[in-house]
């Protein structure tokens, strides 16, 4: 054993090291736009090809062209606008109510000890409940119409907003607040000029989470009881086995989600320019 080792040591010593070989690089994923678009186009082409040669039955999975046709017809008949408008209205109102209440409570929990002492256990107990489970209760309270759906979305948005707001306030560097105090800045101005802007990154990150929750909840609520709305439309299409319509509805949801994240991205870039 020691003999083989000696031989190996001699070989290692004997070798000329030569030019230093480059061994860094890699592990730095960068934007490659063309790759994203190419992959996207490839998936759709593959899907269309599979449908055209009959690998996918049109009843089980419509072709991309059929989906585009369905979308076109829906848009032409005005039904698309109707469904989309209803869903957007519910998301918008529910999200606004939930966010306004969540920010107020969350900021209070970030600033005042008593609010935090009350808020944390209450949030911990109520946050894990899937809010859609409360829709039947809200229907009993508010009736089958809009308020029960909006209330479900608002409640679903409320808790994650509370959590992101108070942890965002916690993440504001204490030394900046001390600095404000050392210059005699009044407490309300410290909140407005130091705490709020400092908490903005965390609050905006929370908006991304709460907006996706709103999207999930609006579909679920509309599937339980609504005449119009994308969720109701998808459910009805499924019941009639109109899969082209169904997938068209799903594509609309995807586009809606993309649009929301695009808008939030714009807002983040504008508000957090200083980062």
């Amino acid at each position: 054993m020691s003999e083989t080792r000696e031989i190996r040591d001699r070989e290692l010593r004997g070798r000329d090291l030569g030019t230093v070989r480059f061994r860094g690089g890699g592990f730095e994923p960068a934007g490659r736009r063309w790759a994203s678009w190419l992959a996207f186009a490839a998936i759709i082409l593959l899907w269309q090809a599979a449908s055209s040669v009959g690998l996918l039955s049109p009843v089980a999975m419509p072709s991309p062209l059929a989906v585009v046709n369905a979308l076109h017809d829906l848009a032409a008949s005005g039904k698309l606008g109707n469904h989309l408008g209803q869903s957007l209205y519910r998301i918008g109102l529910g999200w606004l109510i939930g966010t306004a209440a969540g920010l107020a409570i969350g900021l209070a929990m970030g600033i005042f000890s008593v609010a935090r002492a009350i808020g944390i256990p209450v949030t911990a107990a109520l946050f894990p409940i899937p809010k859609i489970a409360l829709l039947p209760l809200f229907i009993l309270w508010f009736g089958i119409g809009e308020p029960s759906k909006v209330a479900t979305i608002a409640l679903g948005v409320f808790f994650p907003t509370v959590i992101s707001a108070y942890s965002a306030v916690d993440n504001v560097p204490r030394n900046l607040i001390r600095m404000g105090q050392s210059f005699g800045v009044p407490a309300p101005a410290i909140v407005a000029k130091i705490v709020l802007p400092g908490a903005m990154p965390g609050i905006l990150a929370g908006f991304r989470i709460s907006s996706s929750i709103a999207l999930i909840l609006v579909v679920a609520a509309e599937m339980i009881g609504a005449e119009y709305g994308i969720g109701a439309f998808i459910l009805a299409a499924g019941n009639l086995m109109q899969t082209d319509q169904l997938v068209a509805g799903v594509v609309m949801l995807s586009l809606l989600g993309l649009a929301i994240s695009l808008v939030l991205g714009r807002i983040e870039r504008r508000v957090l320019r200083w980062r």
């Binding site: 030394n175 900046l176 001390r178 105090q181 005699g184 800045v185 000029k193 400092g198 903005m200 200083w274």
Partner: protein, 257 residues
């Protein structure tokens, strides 16, 4: 304005950090506080400006603050404490906004201190665009914009590299020569203390006691000259001798966190 530190003691829980510290700041002087790490220098500074409540003792101010003073006890922080979402001018403005100044006077003050600190061309820049030295210049500009009675500086240069530190020391000497603000300068760097201070107070290791106060007779502007090199070296050695043992012990101490 005079500031008298009277029998200050302080503790964090069971940990005594300051023990019966007393001294009086003379109007217009720069008083450096040195001592080993953890001796309570920064705590003492926090108490002097009212950011910390001492366990015992008090700080008494006497005499009128200077004309146009908006914030008598004003800090310059080790980590600069700039708002990253405000421009250089905006950061200085923060210290003025809650005072009843006209817009014109506020702008005038901002322009004046930015020029004094060599920041005139950077008024619209954001902190992240600036080097450490320029950031601390913003911190200094913000502090002198309120015309403080006492400037409380908490290791203002210790986050900077050695060259930047030397440049800022020269800036500070120039600013003090003009403003003559009473200042307390906390540092663990003997060279900084000797270049900047009129008097140097030495704190012992925890619990911090004021063990000696050394007066530096040479004017600040002349200290770098060769004819004073011997005297400066003697002062340096004397200061080092008085803190070396404590610094050694402090370095070996377990952290109380």
């Amino acid at each position: 304005m005079q500031l008298a530190v009277q029998n200050i003691s302080h503790r964090y829980g069971d940990l005594q950090v300051l023990d019966d510290v007393s001294f009086t700041l003379r109007a217009g002087e720069t008083f450096a506080l040195i001592g080993p790490s953890g001796c309570g220098k920064s705590t003492l500074l926090g108490i002097m400006g009212g950011l910390l409540r001492p366990a015992a003792g008090a700080v008494a101010a006497s005499g009128a603050p200077p004309l146009g003073c908006l914030n008598p006890f004003t800090y310059v922080f080790q980590d600069f404490a700039l708002l990253p979402w405000r421009s250089v001018a905006g950061n200085v403005a923060l210290a003025l906004e809650h005072h009843p100044l006209g817009a014109a006077e506020r702008q005038a003050r901002i322009g004046e201190v930015l020029a004094l600190c060599g920041l005139a061309d950077f008024a619209q820049a954001y902190p992240k665009q600036l080097s450490g030295g320029m950031r601390q210049r913003v911190g200094i500009a913000r502090a002198i914009a309120v015309r403080p009675a006492v400037l409380l500086m908490d290791e203002p240069l210790s986050a900077l590299d050695a060259q930047t530190r030397d440049l800022l020391i020269e800036d500070l000497i120039a600013i003090w020569a003009r403003e003559r603000t009473t200042s307390v300068y906390v540092t663990h760097n003997l060279v900084e203390a000797l270049r900047l201070a009129d008097r140097v107070g030495v704190l012992s290791r925890r619990p911090g006691r004021l063990i000696r106060v050394i007066e530096i007779g040479i004017p600040r502007e002349a200290r770098a000259r060769t004819e004073h090199a011997g005297e400066m070296a003697r002062l340096h050695d004397a200061l080092w001798a008085s803190i070396k043992h404590d610094a050694q012990v402090a370095e070996r101490e377990m952290q109380h966190v």
